[in-house]
Structure formats: structure tokens, C-alpha cells
């Protein structure tokens, strides 16, 4: 138990950073991904093309390469955003941007698939009773799409939680980087350190899956 006590400060900073990266990227990628999905299903072809191009480029790029472009590259062209209020420095903020740009491509596909699972007759019925586009979307399509979107969206967020570890390769001290830091200080055997950090990630994954399961149940009961 005493080793766990020694590990605790490292785990707290590490997983603290992992969770901040996760939550901020979740929010940004969901906003960006939803806008992109709107573009991909739009009847206006330049928007459609942009959305398709975005998804094909960023879904097929390794996250490490995107980190090189953004975390290494942006400071070189004097793009230095900083999410001060979340306590992030420039590199951590750029990591959030890289994670969000990458994850948005996957969010876009999930939202688009979710909208397309709604039966076309539903929207047609809504229009034929005189609902406007906004009403159709808000009252008829989105509530049904939301239900279908929860499980795949949870998968995207779980992948995002694991992907925050890539920041460790760029000098950001989050949970995975703590494996190296604690290993250097030989606080415990590498195996022990690995198991403890792995359990931390498993807990995060389970929490996301659990919230998704509860939401899914809640939504289906509301009907």
C-alpha cells in the first residue's frame, strides 16, 4: 500500500491532465463534428465536398502525425492558443486542438449515420403536417437520431480517452507519461506501475460506457 501512496501524486497529476484533455476535446470535437455532419448531409455541394474531404483526410491520418503538424508546427507559425481558464499551457492547448480535429472526423460520421437511421417517412410526415425545417429537425428527427447515436458516440469518446495518451509522446505529462516518470524513479516494478495506470484507463472507459448505457435506457423509457 505504501507504494500506492508514493504513486498517488503522480497518478493525480497524470490522470488529472488526461481528464482535462479528454473533457475539452470531447466538447470541441462534438461541436466541430456536428457542424461537419451538417455539411455532409447538406444539399449544397461545396459544403458536402468539404465535409467529405475533411473526414477522408483526418480519419486516415495517424494522430501522431497530426500532433507533429499542430503541437510542433503551430508554434513555428506563431499560432499559440492557450486555454488559460482550464489551466493549460500552449502545448497542452494545442494537444486539445489536435485531438479535437482528429476526433471530429469520427463524430461527424456517427452523427451522419445517426441522422440517416431515422426513417425518411418521419421527416416527410413532419413536413406534410406543415412543420418548418427547424421544427422537423428539433421535434422529429434529432430526438430519434440521438437514441441511435449514443452507443457509437460512446465508442468514439472511449477511443478519444485512449488517444489522449499520444500527448505523452510530445512531452505532455498525462497518465501514460507518468509510466515513464515513475519508472525512472523506480517507485515500483514497471509491471506494477503499468497495472495501476491501466486500471485508471479502464475506470475511465467504464465510466463513459456506463453513462452511455444509462442515457440509452433513459431515452428509451421516455418514449
Amino acid at each position: 500500500m505504501s507504494t500506492l501512496q508514493e504513486m498517488w501524486p503522480f497518478l493525480r497529476t497524470g490522470f488529472g491532465m488526461t481528464i482535462v484533455l479528454l473533457v475539452l476535446s470531447m466538447i470541441l470535437s462534438t461541436l466541430l463534428g456536428t457542424v461537419l455532419a451538417g455539411m455532409r448531409v447538406s444539399p449544397v455541394w461545396p459544403f458536402r465536398m468539404f465535409g467529405t474531404g475533411y473526414v477522408n483526410i483526418f480519419r486516415n491520418t495517424p494522430l501522431v502525425v497530426l500532433f507533429i503538424l499542430i503541437v510542433e508546427g503551430f508554434p513555428a507559425i506563431d499560432v499559440r492558443p492557450s486555454f488559460d481558464s482550464a489551466g493549460l499551457d500552449v502545448f497542452e492547448s494545442l494537444a486539445v486542438i489536435a485531438l479535437s480535429i482528429y476526433t471530429a472526423a469520427f463524430v461527424c460520421e456517427v452523427v451522419r449515420a445517426g441522422v440517416n437511421t431515422v426513417d425518411a417517412g418521419q421527416a416527410e410526415a413532419a413536413r406534410s403536417v406543415g412543420m418548418t425545417f427547424g421544427q422537423t429537425l428539433r421535434i422529429v428527427v434529432l430526438p430519434q437520431a440521438f437514441r441511435n447515436v449514443i452507443p457509437p458516440m460512446a465508442s468514439v469518446y472511449i477511443a478519444l480517452a485512449k488517444n489522449t495518451s499520444v500527448a505523452a509522446a510530445f512531452g505532455i505529462v498525462e497518465a501514460t507519461a507518468e509510466l515513464s516518470r515513475m519508472n525512472e524513479r523506480t517507485i515500483a516494478s514497471t509491471m506494477k506501475l503499468f497495472v495501476v495506470i491501466a486500471i485508471g484507463y479502464i475506470i475511465i472507459v467504464w465510466v463513459i460506457a456506463l453513462v452511455a448505457a444509462i442515457l440509452e435506457k433513459g431515452v428509451s423509457r421516455a418514449r
Binding site: R40, V44, N60, L63, V64, A76, V141, I202, W206
Partner: protein, 279 residues
């Protein structure tokens, strides 16, 4: 017209309106791309000095050698992952709880932890025995293998029930039914998912960057970190072009196979890369 529930087929007025939106939207997108280009130009990222590494035959050969390592890492990882996935899918479908439960545990745990954590752990603990190459291959094997185990399980379960009942009725044992009847039918429905997983494995080989595995991303690091070039943006754009070309081709193949399977009226198994067994 895109397949969408949101829009009716446009009438003449909507068509005119969409044409206006197209012009305005197209102009806005071009303006955005133009702005990004201008920013790079202004920051002197689109100068001959930043890009001339592509004309140095030594560097290009080094990158090509790196690409060979990347492809070899991905190929080794995916072959081993298929074997790993097959074993653990079979284990999860076992009738005996003492085989089933450990297999479920392994698959769920390895799907929930980051590949990079696994790579670092293997590299710290067994670097003498494994070296960088096999640290990465093994980490990719257990992760992709665990994802594929779920794909295989879903594929086997998706074969109509009458097939296995017929097999059992003519006196085959369960293992024979799986091997002779279910697996051959399941493979075609799983092929697109396996190819999609190749894309994931190929992308994840870039994690070798963290331990210096001399794959293309790791070698590219030497270029952009050298004070002579100092060009992370140019190098990253070059890497993106390489990976997007390869992965887009793989995705296209997966999509063609999926369309073929659909045409035959069979179900297609989807990859679910991260869900744990909650709910």
C-alpha cells in the same frame, strides 16, 4: 442528391436558392483554404528551404526505408492480430466458463488501455528481448487482436442458426461446426472489418515515434527537429499525404468488399473499437 432524410427533392425555387448557397458557400470555403495557405506563406513555411528535403536522395531513400518498416510493422501486427483474435473469439464462444471468462477479461482489458501505454510497458520491461520492432508489433497485436476477436465473434454469431443446427444434426461436434460450417460463411462478412482494422494498425505504427522504432514517422522526426530544416509543418504534410493515400486505398477496398457482400444479401459486421462490456 445525397441520401438524407432531411431534405425533399428540391423544386425550382429551392434549386435556385441552393445555387446561390453553393456560390456563397464555395467562396467561403475557398476563402478559408486561401487564408490557411496565406498564413503558411506568411510564416515562411512554403519556401524552397522548408521543402527541399524531398529533393535530397539520401533523405528520400531513408524515408522509403522507413515506409518499408512501417508497412512491415503493420503487416506483422495484423497477421498476428488475426490469429490472436481467432483464438480469443473461439475462447469467448466456449461452453466452459473457465475458458470463456479469462478470454472475456483479456479482450476487454486490452481494448480499454491505450496502445502507447502497452508499447512503453513492453519497451521498458522487455526491450532487451524484444527490441523496438517487436514491442510495437506485440502491442498492436494484443490491441487489434482484441478488437478483431469481437468482430469474429459477431461474425460467427451472425450466421443463421439453422446452419449450426444442421451441422449438429448430422453429428458434427461443436468445434467441427465452427470450423467447417460457421467460419467459412462468416469470413466474407468480416473481411471489410478486417481491412478497416488494417487502417487502424497502420495508423498506430506511427506510435513508434515515441520509442524510436525507425518507421517513417520516427525517421521524419530527424528531419524536422534538425536546426537546418526545422520544418515540422512541411514534414507533417508529407506524412499526411503518404498515410492518407495508403489508408484511403485500403478503405476503398473495404467499401467495395462491403458493397459486394451487401449485394449478396449478407450482413456485414461492423468494427466497434472501444466499447467495454457495460450495459
Amino acid at each position: 442528391m445525397s441520401s438524407s432524410v432531411l431534405y425533399d427533392a428540391p423544386g425550382p425555387r429551392a434549386k435556385r436558392r441552393h445555387a446561390v448557397y453553393s456560390v456563397v458557400g464555395g467562396a467561403a470555403i475557398l476563402a478559408l483554404l486561401g487564408y490557411l495557405f496565406w498564413r503558411l506563406w506568411d510564416a515562411e513555411q512554403i519556401t524552397p528551404e522548408k521543402w527541399e528535403f524531398l529533393q535530397d536522395p539520401d533523405i528520400v531513400n531513408d524515408l522509403l526505408e522507413g515506409l518499408r518498416v512501417t508497412l512491415s510493422l503493420a503487416a506483422a501486427a495484423i497477421v498476428l492480430a488475426v490469429a490472436f483474435g481467432a483464438v480469443f473469439a473461439a475462447g469467448r464462444l466456449s461452453d466452459h466458463w473457465f475458458i470463456r471468462l479469462p478470454c472475456i477479461a483479456v479482450v476487454e482489458v486490452f481494448r480499454a488501455i491505450p496502445v502507447l501505454l502497452m508499447i512503453l510497458f513492453l519497451n521498458f520491461t522487455y526491450s532487451a528481448q524484444l527490441g523496438d520492432y517487436w514491442s510495437i508489433v506485440l502491442a498492436l497485436m494484443v490491441y487489434n487482436g482484441s478488437v478483431l476477436a469481437e468482430v469474429f465473434r459477431a461474425g460467427i454469431l451472425a450466421v443463421p442458426k439453422g446452419q449450426s443446427e444442421a451441422g449438429l444434426a448430422i453429428g458434427l461436434r461443436k468445434a467441427q461446426v465452427t470450423r467447417l460450417i460457421l467460419a467459412p460463411q462468416a469470413i466474407s462478412t468480416m473481411l471489410p472489418a478486417i481491412i478497416s482494422q488494417c487502417v487502424v494498425a497502420l495508423k498506430d505504427t506511427a506510435l513508434g515515434y515515441a520509442i524510436g522504432s525507425s518507421d517513417i514517422t520516427d525517421r521524419a522526426k530527424l528531419i524536422f527537429t534538425s536546426p537546418f530544416y526545422n520544418n515540422p509543418i512541411a514534414v507533417a504534410l508529407m506524412l499526411m499525404a503518404v498515410f492518407v493515400t495508403i489508408n484511403y486505398t485500403l478503405s476503398l477496398i473495404a467499401r467495395l468488399l462491403e458493397a459486394r457482400t451487401r449485394r449478396r444479401g449478407e450482413r456485414v459486421v461492423q468494427v466497434d473499437s472501444g466499447r467495454a462490456a457495460v450495459g
